[in-house]
Assembly symmetry: C2
């Protein structure tokens, strides 16, 4: 299998330099052609000829839009059709759909296919997908995205120069890791290895908590939000609540899946807010200044 991995690596590397013929291209299946799946297709097709991309999405309109935008070479008639001859499968689906897709891949994808995902949590997904797909599954999560949704909002540069975390385990096949790292580099991103637990803790602080805060801030200013009020909002409020435009359904699934790590992150934030609150309540400017200085982003 690592031989396949080597082949994936070398051909993809070549692709970065001289655009390889479709003949020599790897067969990539992108499952889920929403904003991220379509963006990766666009990134790969813009940057390299190394992949022949089949796409599938349960929503026909999303699949059609991804094809219209030329993010995929072929829009498949089913998940099984998309992966039937795949060398590599990128699951670009919500966290609560990844394992079910892995089950389907176990039935319909060729043996030896490398599978990776882009979901925002990793512990449960890696455990489940590894038990379903074995050593050829490599968990992944690009630390990039958008509060927008759908292939219409996809951009070829969404992951450009962004860190793309992968979470291989002791069991993961080295060739599969190499194939996924090559895919990530060809998409213009930078692969970084972590354990699933390291990822989930980091993501809780640097991605999930800011989403909790954005929804909480919007919710805390009172509903219904009269149109005049948001117009008055300073840039600071707009920045802090930008991602509260993200799909609540999607984020309910992510937060539920990483609850323990997010609870720790919320507790650390609450303790900071309590310190600032008490410095304000005590009119202790010295303590307040020290707290702001400690949180000063330099």
């Amino acid at each position: 299998m690592s031989e396949t991995g080597f082949h994936l690596q070398s051909s993809a590397r070549a692709a970065v330099t001289e655009d390889s013929a479709a003949a020599g291209a790897l067969r990539l299946a992108i499952i889920g052609t929403g904003l991220m799946g379509t963006s990766i297709g666009l990134a790969l097709r813009t940057r390299t000829g190394a992949y022949r991309i089949a796409g599938w999405d349960p929503r026909a309109e999303s699949l059609h839009a991804a094809y219209e935008r030329q993010a995929i070479h072929r829009s498949a008639s089913s998940l099984a059709d998309a992966v039937s001859d795949a060398d590599l499968v990128l699951i670009a689906a919500p966290v609560d759909h990844v394992s079910a897709i892995a089950q389907e891949l176990a039935r319909s994808a060729p043996p030896g296919v490398t599978v990776t995902d882009m979901a925002g949590t990793k512990r449960r997904i890696v455990q489940e997908c590894e038990s379903i797909l074995g050593s050829r599954f490599v968990g992944g999560h690009p630390m990039a995205g958008s509060e927008l949704a759908g292939p219409g909002c996809a951009r070829a540069d969404v992951v450009t120069d962004a860190p793309w975390i992968i979470t291989p385990t002791a069991r993961t096949d080295p060739g599969a890791i190499a194939a996924v790292e090559t895919l990530i580099r060809n998409a213009g991103s930078c692969p970084i290895r972590m354990t699933p637990l390291e990822h989930d803790r980091m993501a809780a602080s640097l991605s999930h908590l800011p989403h909790v805060v954005a929804y909480a801030l919007m919710g805390s200013i009172g509903r219904p939000l009269d149109p005049g009020t948001l117009r008055l909002a300073a840039g600071s409020f707009r920045s802090a609540t930008r991602v509260a435009a993200s799909d609540p359904e999607h984020w309910t699934a992510i937060m539920s899946d990483n609850a323990d790590a997010i609870l720790d992150a919320i507790d650390r934030l609450q303790s900071r807010l309590n310190s600032i609150r008490s410095a304000l309540a005590d009119a202790d400017a010295e303590r307040l200044r020290a707290l702001l200085a400690d949180g000063h982003r330099t």
Copy 2:
């Protein structure tokens, strides 16, 4: 006095259409040529010839930079020199310096001069400045700005189309209000009237609280922040902490000055965070979904 106000209005209106000669221009003094004072000077000089602008700043280098950037026509040798013949004075200084400047203006500005400020809090400042300057003081606060500082970062469009709140009282001279509203329109912004209390409550929720959150978020992820960590931060974290780059000294003064309203805003946010926290802890996806939907920014 309202006659002066009318004159200010009409001449400034004319200025928007045909660039009025320097002769007919109003004498405006900008006290404080940091990012905001310099930006307003640039905005006015870019958009209209209605004002002849003198500037002063206690930091010689800031004053020099504002003059070099042509945000002001004249760099004054002292505050008294800047305002000696002023029709209108714009105090662009930190919240904790405004009243002291008003004291100086009471000594050195011509009688009948209209004075306004741009500070982020209004109750105390309006009360103090009104007692010092009387009916010609009009409190103001543009709901725009930047986490950056200094005339070098000033931009002519910082307040373009942004709401600029003014907080006249029953005592405020109508001519002074008209003069300040004309100045605001000539800078490309939109004047909105509120009471000082309405302003401070609104600013606590829509500007001060997001700053508290930004400093708290940065502080909560642990110090020293290893360079790799922030690199991993998703866009959501960067957005939420952007204003934590603001000067802690400056924000200690603003928060201290509006503590009661900010405490209320922090309490509302913490109660939201507690609700989300308990929904997560109870693995109650329904409740979590409802809370995110309620805070969904549409």
